[in-house]
Amino acid sequence: MNRTLDRSLADDLVRPLFHTSVWFYGLALALGTVVASGLAAWGYQIWNGIGVTGKRWPVFWGFYITNFVFWIGISHAGTLISAILRLVNARWRRPVTRCAEVITVFALMIGAMFPLIHLGRPWLFFWMAPYPSSRDLWPNFRSPLVWDFFAINTYLLGSLLFLVLPMIPDFALVRDRSTGLRRRIYGALALGWQGTTKQWHRLEAAMQIMAIAILPVAVSVHTIVSFDFSMAPVPMWHSTIFGPYFVAGAIFSGIAALIVAMAVLRRALKLEAYLHPMHFENLGKLLLLMSLLWVYFVFAERLTVWYGNEHSEMSVFWTHQTGNYAPLFWTMVACNFLIPFPILALRKLRTIPGVVFASVTVLIGMWLERYLIVVPSLGHKALPYSWGTYGPEPIEIVIMASTFGAMALLYTLFARFVPIISIWEMKVGQHPHRHALPEEDEEAAGLWRVRP
C-alpha cells in the first residue's frame, strides 16, 4: 500500500518533467517576451541615462529601490519560513518547503538586480566589491550599500545551498527515471547520490545546520536593507524601529507571496492531492499574525513621529495621512490590514480563495508600503524650498513588470525541470517513523539507488 502510494506520488510529482504541455511553451514564450522587453528597456535606460526614469532632484530613489526592497522582502518567504518550519518539525511543511525556498532564490536574484538597474553607471558596479588593485582602492565599508552587497550575496548563497541540498535525492530520482542527455544532466546534478544511509545522515545533518544558520542571515538581510534607509538623516527614515519593522514586513509579504505561488502551482500542476486546504489555512494564520505585527509596527512608528512633532518628519507624516500620498497610504492600510484581517481571522472566510485573496492584497499593500517609505520622505526633507515629487515613467513600469514576468518565468522553468514538491520529504512524511526508506524494501529502495 505504501509502496503504491510512493509510486503514484513520485509519478505525480515528476510528471511535469517528462510531459510538457503546449501551455508551458505558450507561457514561457509570453513570459520570455515580458522579460525581454524589460531587458530592452534596461538597455535603453543605460544608453540614454537614468533621466528616462521619473527620478529627479531631490527624489533620487524611486521605483527601482521600491522594487528592490519589495523583492528582498518577498525572498523572506522561503528560506526563513521553511527553516523555521523545519526546525519546529512542522509536519505540514513538507509540500510547502521547496516552493518557498525557490521563491527566496529567485526573488533575491531579481531583487539584487535592482540596485544595478538603478545605478547611474551600472557598468562600474564591480567597484562595490572588494578586490585588490594597483590603485589601492577599496569599497567604503561604512556604506550600508556595501553591507547590502555582502548581506544579499551571503543570503543568496545560503538560500541556494538550502534549496539545492534537499533537491539532490529528487535529482537522483529523476536521473533514474530518464535516459540520454537528461539522465546525464540530472546525474550530474544528483552529485552521485545513491541513497545510502550515510548519505541520508549527511543530508539530514546538513539541512539541520543550514536551517539554523540561515535564520540569522535572513533576519540580518532585511535589517541591513532597512539600514539603507535608517542610516540616512532623512525624515521618517532615521528610526531605530526600521530593522524589525522591515523584517516583519518582509516575512509578511513573503508568506503572502508563498500562498499565491502555492495556489498557482496547485491549480496549474494539479497538486490538489498534496497542497491541502490545511496548508493554506495554516499559512493564513501565520499571515494573520504578521498582519497584526505589521499594524503594530506602523502604529508604533507613526505614534513616535507624531508625538515627537519634529517639523520635517511631520511634513512627511501629514503627506501620508492627509496629503498627496494619503490615497496610497490608506490603500496600503486597507490592503495590509483592513481587508486581510477579517478574512484571515474568521474561520469561515479562511478558505483557499479567501486566503489567496488576502495574500494578493497584502502583496499590493506591502509594495505600496515600500513606495511610501522611499518617495515621500525624499520629497520632504528639512528645507521646504527643495521639496519635490516623483512619478514613475513608462520605462520603470516596464522594468518592474518584467521582473514579475521574470519571477513567473523562472518559477515556470523551475517547475518544469525540478520536482516542485520535495518527493523524498513527502515520502518521509508518509513513513513518519523511518528516516529513510528501508533497505529491505527493494523496489522502493531501487528508486534511490544507482543500479550496480
Partner: protein, 235 residues
C-alpha cells in the same frame, strides 16, 4: 597647519539677486538642462537662493538664504557612498570624485540640504557654447553626482601660485565664484584655521548659526542672521 576652508553667508546683506547662482554656472561648467528637464526636476543649481515668504499681504516678509554644499565635517553623504566617491579631504572639503562615482545617488538622499545634483543625462553644450567651458573644471558625464566644490579649481590654483612664490595665502586672495560675484559681499570665504581670517571672525559672530545643525553633520558654513531694524541700530 593645513587649510580648513569655510564660508560665512550674511543674510543681512543678501538681496536674493542670484548673481552667485549664475556665477556658479559660469565657473563650474554646470549644464543648463532645458525646460523639459527643468520641469522634471533636473535643473542643476549647485548654489540656490532659497526664499521663504512669511506673513500675508500687506505684512509680508521674505527671507533669502543661499544654500550650497555645507562641506560638513561629519558629512552623511561621505559615509554612505559605497565607493568613496564622496570623501573628506584633509582641508575639510567634501570631495566628489567624479571618476569614482557609480551613481547610486545615495549621497543625494543622505544630504539633508539637498545640494547634490545628478547628471540624469549626458550634458550637451550646443556649439559654440562649449567654447565657454572652464578648462580647469571637469565636465561631468551621465550618471554622476555633482555638487558645490568650494571652487576647488581656484583653491588648487591659488595653492600652486603661493607655493611657487614661496609665500602664504593672504586672506581674501582666494574667492569662489559666488563670493567673487556677490554684489553685497554677503558671501565670505576663507581659512577657518586662521583665527584672524574674515571668515573665522564671522564664524564667531553672535549672529551666526549653522543650517540644520541638529542633524549633527557639522556644516562649515555659518549663516549670519538677518537683523530687524530698530531705532538704536542706526545710531
Amino acid at each position: 597647519m593645513p587649510y580648513r576652508w569655510g564660508m560665512a553667508v550674511d543674510a543681512d546683506r543678501c538681496t536674493g539677486c542670484e548673481a552667485c547662482v549664475t556665477a556658479c554656472h559660469a565657473e563650474n561648467n554646470i549644464p543648463t538642462v532645458g525646460p523639459e528637464q527643468a520641469a522634471r526636476g533636473r535643473a542643476m543649481h549647485w548654489m540656490r537662493v532659497e526664499r521663504y515668504v512669511e506673513g500675508d499681504f500687506p505684512d509680508v516678509r521674505v527671507k533669502f538664504r543661499p544654500v550650497l554644499c555645507q562641506q560638513c565635517d561629519a558629512a552623511p553623504c561621505e559615509a554612505v557612498c559605497p565607493t568613496y566617491a564622496s570623501h573628506h579631504t584633509e582641508e575639510g572639503l567634501n570631495a566628489q570624485v567624479y571618476n569614482r562615482c557609480i551613481g547610486t545617488r545615495y549621497c543625494g538622499n543622505a544630504c539633508a540640504y539637498n545640494v547634490r545634483f545628478f547628471n540624469f543625462f549626458n550634458p550637451v553644450w550646443e556649439k559654440p557654447l562649449n567654447l565657454q567651458l572652464n578648462p580647469d573644471v571637469s565636465v561631468r558625464g551621465v550618471g554622476i553626482m555633482e555638487k558645490c566644490t568650494f571652487c576647488v579649481q581656484r583653491i588648487k590654483a591659488a595653492k600652486t601660485v603661493v607655493k611657487a612664490e614661496g609665500r602664504a595665502l593672504r586672506d581674501g586672495e582666494l574667492q569662489p565664484a559666488c563670493a567673487q560675484a556677490c554684489p553685497t559681499s554677503a558671501i565670505v570665504f576663507g581659512d577657518l584655521n586662521d583665527p584672524e581670517s574674515r571668515v573665522s571672525r564671522l564664524a564667531r559672530s553672535p549672529r551666526g548659526s549653522k543650517l540644520l545643525e541638529e542633524t549633527g553633520a557639522e556644516p562649515k558654513i555659518t549663516y549670519l542672521a538677518k537683523l530687524a531694524w530698530d531705532e538704536s541700530d542706526a545710531r
